[in-house]
Symmetry: none
Subunit: 276 residues, 2 copies
DNA sequence: GCAGCCTGTGAAGATCCTGTGACCGCGGCG
DNA sequence: CGCCGCGGTCACAGGATCTTCACAGGCTGC
C-alpha cells in the first residue's frame, strides 16, 4: 500500500524560492528565531526533489521559475496536493492570482510584503495540520483484489495482462487506491486528478468512474473495486462479488433495499454495498 | 470529533458579511453563476447562529462588526475551527493582518479587491481544509455501544458491518453522537443537520430518527441508542437493553419494529425517559 | 378517566443523484 | 486528408433518498 506519509512532524521545514536576496535574508532570520528549519532554493527544483525534502511549506516566487512557471506550479500542486504552497510575486494581475489559486496554490502574496505577514500566512495555511502527506504514491505498486496498479508503467494489470487504462483513467484509479479505503468526495477527486477546482455540475468524475468500472469488470469480473456512496462520492476497495445463486446480477448494488421487513439473511455478510 | 460545521456537503454555502452593498451584489451574482448557495449577513451574527447555518465558508468585513471585531473573530475561530474564514477589510496594517491570521483567519484580503479573486481565495481555503480534514478524518471515529461512527466513511458500523445509513441518516447520528449525551431539541437538531430553520410542524427529524432506530436495532439489537424525551427532543446514548428476566422485553419505546404488530406488553416502566 | 398535544408509523410523491450511451473537438498517425 | 483514441459534455432514464401526509397509539395535565 502506498500511502501516507510522514505524519510525524519534526520541526516545520519550509522551502523558500525567491530571487530577492535581501527579502530572503530577513525572512530566514525571522524563521530562525521562530525555530523553523528552512531551505533556500534558487530556481525551479524538480518536483521529485521537493517530494524528497519532506517540506512543511513551500514559498515560491514564480518570476524565479521562468517561463514554465505555470506548468511548474500545476505539477507541484498535482504531485503534492498536501503541501502548503504560497506563491510570492512582484506585480501580478487579478487573473494571474485567480489562476494560481485555482490551480492549487493556497495563498498568493504580492511584494512588497512584510516578512512577518508572509510567515503568518504560511502558518495560517499549514495551521491545522503538519502532514506533508506526499501523495507521492509515485513509485510504488498497489495490489488490490486481482489487480495491480503500477505507477512506473502508468498502467494497471489483472493477472499480468494490461487493463489498457488511458492516462486519466490510470490517474483516477491510482488516486482512489491511494486513499486507503476512505470515501472521497467528487470535488476532492477532481482536484487531485485534474489538478484544479471542479466546476459546479461537472460530471467528468462520474464518467471516468464508469469507464474504469467497465474495464475493471472486463478484466476481473469476480471483484468490484469502486463503490458509490450516494450523495457523497466514491470509495476504492477490492471486494469479491458475492453472487447469490441467481444468474445475472452484474449490477452489484441491488440486494437489500433497507428496512424491508421481508428479505434478510441472504448474504451472510455484507458484501458490496456501502451506503447506497 | 470535529464539529459539524459543514460535514461534507451539499452545495457550498457561503456567508458574506460586508458593508459594501455594491461589492456584495457583484459577489453574489458571481456566486450564483457558480452555483454556490449564499447568505448575506449585515452585522455580527452570534456564533451559535453561524454554527446552525452549516456554512462552507465565511467572509467577514471586520469594519461591519464594530469595536468587538477582534474578540468576535477570536470567538468564531474558537467555536468553528473548521470553518474556512476569510477576513475582508478596507485599509489594514501589517500588524492587523498578522494578528488576524494568527488568531485563526485563513486569509485576509484588502479592498479594493476583485470579486473573482476573493472567490478564488475562498475556494483555495476550502480546498485546503478539505484535504486536511480527509487526512485527519481517520481519527474522527466515535464509538458507542456496539457501533462505530466513522466520519471518513460517511458511515456507521456494527461489528464491522456497515449499517447502510444514507447521507442524512449519517449526519443525524453523527450530530447526535457529538452532543455528548445531552438532550437536543428538534429545532436544534434540524438546524444543525439541515442547515436552516425548521418549519413549524415539520416532522422530518422524527422520521429520520425512526429510520435510524430501525437500522440500528437491526444491526445491534441489544442496545438502544436514541432516546426520546417527551416534549423536548432526543438524546443519544448507548444503553444496553434492559431485559426483565421474565417474559416481556422492556417496553422501551423503541422496542422492536420487527415482529411489530403483535406485542404490546404493558410497559412495566419507562426505561427510556430520563428527566424531561 | 378524558381531552389534547406529541410521537411513532407507513406509504405516496416530489426531488435529487448517478449510470449510460451518444456526440464533439482535438491531436497524432498512416 | 481521413481515421482513431481520448477527454470532456449532454440529456435522458432509472433509482435512491428526502418530504409530506394522514392516522394511530402514547403521554400529560386536569
Amino acid at each position: 500500500m502506498t500511502d501516507v506519509s510522514n505524519g510525524a512532524a519534526q520541526r516545520a521545514r519550509i522551502a523558500v524560492s525567491d530571487g530577492d536576496t535581501g527579502f530572503v535574508q530577513v525572512l530566514t532570520k525571522r524563521l530562525d528565531r521562530l525555530g523553523w528549519e528552512h531551505v533556500v532554493l534558487t530556481g525551479a527544483v524538480p518536483v521529485e526533489r521537493l517530494v524528497a525534502m519532506r517540506l512543511g511549506a513551500f514559498v515560491v516566487d514564480l518570476a524565479l521559475i521562468g517561463p514554465d512557471a505555470w506548468s511548474y506550479l500545476e505539477k507541484v500542486c498535482r504531485e503534492l496536493p498536501a503541501l502548503p504552497l504560497v506563491v510570492c510575486t512582484g506585480q501580478s494581475t487579478v487573473a494571474q492570482r485567480v489562476r494560481g489559486l485555482r490551480l492549487g496554490a493556497d495563498d498568493w502574496v504580492t511584494k512588497p510584503c512584510h516578512p512577518e505577514e508572509l510567515i503568518a500566512r504560511v502558518e495560517a495555511v499549514g495551521r491545522r495540520r503538519r502532514l506533508a502527506a506526499s501523495v507521492a504514491a509515485a513509485a510504488d505498486t498497489v495490489v488490490a483484489g486481482e489487480i495491480e496498479i503500477r505507477a512506473d508503467q502508468f498502467q494497471a494489470f489483472a493477472d499480468g495482462r494490461s487493463i489498457d487504462l488511458t492516462r486519466r483513467e490510470f490517474e483516477l484509479i491510482q488516486m482512489l487506491a491511494a486513499a486507503g479505503g476512505r470515501v472521497l468526495e467528487r470535488e476532492e477527486i477532481y482536484q487531485r486528478v485534474w489538478g484544479y477546482a471542479m466546476a459546479h455540475g461537472d460530471r467528468s468524475v462520474d464518467v471516468f468512474v464508469r469507464k474504469l468500472r467497465t474495464k475493471l469488470q472486463r478484466a476481473s469480473p469476480k471483484w468490484t473495486y469502486i463503490h458509490t456512496h450516494f450523495g457523497v462520492g466514491y470509495r476504492f476497495a477490492a471486494e469479491p462479488v458475492v453472487e447469490v445463486a441467481s444468474r445475472e446480477a452484474s449490477g452489484a448494488r441491488s440486494s437489500d433495499p433497507g428496512p424491508a421487513p421481508a428479505r434478510r439473511a441472504a448474504p451472510a455478510r455484507k458484501p458490496v454495498r456501502a451506503c447506497a
